[in-house]
Point group: C2
Chain length 240, copies 2
DNA sequence: TAAATGAGAGAGAACGTTCTCTCTTTTTTG
DNA sequence: CAAAAAAGAGAGAACGTTCTCTCTCATTTA
């Protein structure tokens, strides 16, 4: 993957350690060139995201991305080896962003509050496109795109499974703690619970409530009721 | 879809009426040629569905579809004017199939039972690919594909909105009846309720529980608890 | 025989990608 | 320190492939 590494620079590296503007390995990581490279990569990725939201992974052409980035194909291909690589990078970043929201969950000492908050945070972050122009459901579009791609693209599927595994771990950790605190019915099937919550979450992201006129605040009692229903089915059903 | 048409009718009709012999409108609808035409159209559509599940709407080429249908491009384009038309036809059929499940809902006299049953029916029909070969999550794949396409393709978006409107009507009719029977909390926001149920349903279809090892039967209590939680939030929360 | 049907070559555009070349910046050399 | 050399960055034409769709011509059907 790391292709154009130069044998010459090994010698340079040993000699001029004072100069970090050279093109040696260290410079690529920390020097001016390196910063430029990262900035360009980000410029390309941002352009690609815009195009993918507009036209889909397959629908957007490399020319479209080049135009959006204000860059020639020759320049763009200096930073990414293929369209596939760009798709994978964006997919990974998007799924990671989703998984990171769960980190807040571990800090709460009430599992119902935690789930409610995670749900709201997710909707807020994924459904509301606060940064930059474009349609308000941009993140929902990108999410559906990633999900669709993951169903037939091995690389993207692996990325999704990786982050899904992380999410499962975090959820199970929080649930185990809550179970010991007696906040969850002992009869609840944990696997089923996690699967249900994940499915509901993804459905809500895909539907993009805020862009359909449902304010985020209105979802609080809904999420709370759903959390109650899934974590404490006995209590919810016994007064039927 | 189902047409029991007599083969002889066309000949009789053409003989009787020599003026508009072959390609007239009525003959196309009722004659033997018409029946052949419909059979060919279905053959193409089935091949296209297989290809779209395998490669996606954009990923599947017309050549791929032609090969799958055992047909030349020249023949195929006699029945569909464009790839777009095939995509729209398949999208419409898929969404309609989903909307029709709701019809059963109106026949139940208990709203909780009705929602539970609709949820299970939906999972059974959409997530389990009982007919033909291919991956077990075929319908989920097609669903994600339709959803992704609807976000940037005006034609498909219109189709989705049409059937969504039908689904909303059916749901509201059932909910209104249930409300009069006192089965739903008066405080429940109907718009929010429908949106939440739709989102959860789509998430569950997309996740495809059966193909992940969750049996359909296990979902019954989950759906029931969720229905309780959304229709009777007061009761669910008051014993918190 | 006349209309319907289909096969298959292939047109023309668009695709992802690569190639060549120019211009700028950095490093080495005298 | 100035000149020469090397390397990096980018532009844009061009590559081979694949795309959707059309055209021609042969075969089947009534």
């Amino acid at each position: 993957m790391v292709d154009h590494v130069l044998p010459k620079q090994a010698a340079n590296f040993a000699d001029d350690d004072a100069d970090d503007t050279s093109h040696c390995f260290v410079a690529k990581l920390f020097g001016k060139r390196a910063r430029n490279r990262e900035a360009q990569e980000e410029r390309i990725l941002n352009a690609a995201i815009t195009c993918f939201i507009r036209s889909g992974f397959r629908g957007a052409s490399m020319n479209e991305i080049c135009s959006e980035a204000g860059m020639s194909p020759g320049a763009l291909y200096r930073y990414f080896p293929s369209k596939e690589a760009i798709i994978e990078k964006i997919s990974a970043a998007h799924r990671q962003q989703s998984a990171e929201i769960l980190d807040r969950m571990l800090k709460s000492d009430n599992i119902i509050d935690a789930i409610t908050q995670v749900g709201i945070d997710h909707v807020r972050q994924m459904s509301l496109n606060t940064t930059g122009p474009g349609p308000r459901d941009s993140n929902a579009r990108l999410f559906v795109e990633v999900r669709a791609e993951s169903m037939r693209n091995e690389g993207v599927a692996a990325i999704c499974e990786l982050h899904e595994g992380l999410m499962r771990e975090k959820l199970f950790a929080a649930f185990d703690a809550a179970k010991e605190r007696g906040e969850i019915d002992p009869i609840v099937d944990m696997e089923l619970l996690v699967a249900t919550l994940a499915a509901m979450g993804e459905g809500i992201i895909m539907r993009n409530f805020p862009s359909q006129g449902v304010p985020v605040e209105a979802l609080e009692p809904v999420f709370r009721a759903l959390a109650e229903a899934t974590l404490r089915p006995t209590k919810s059903l016994e007064n039927k």
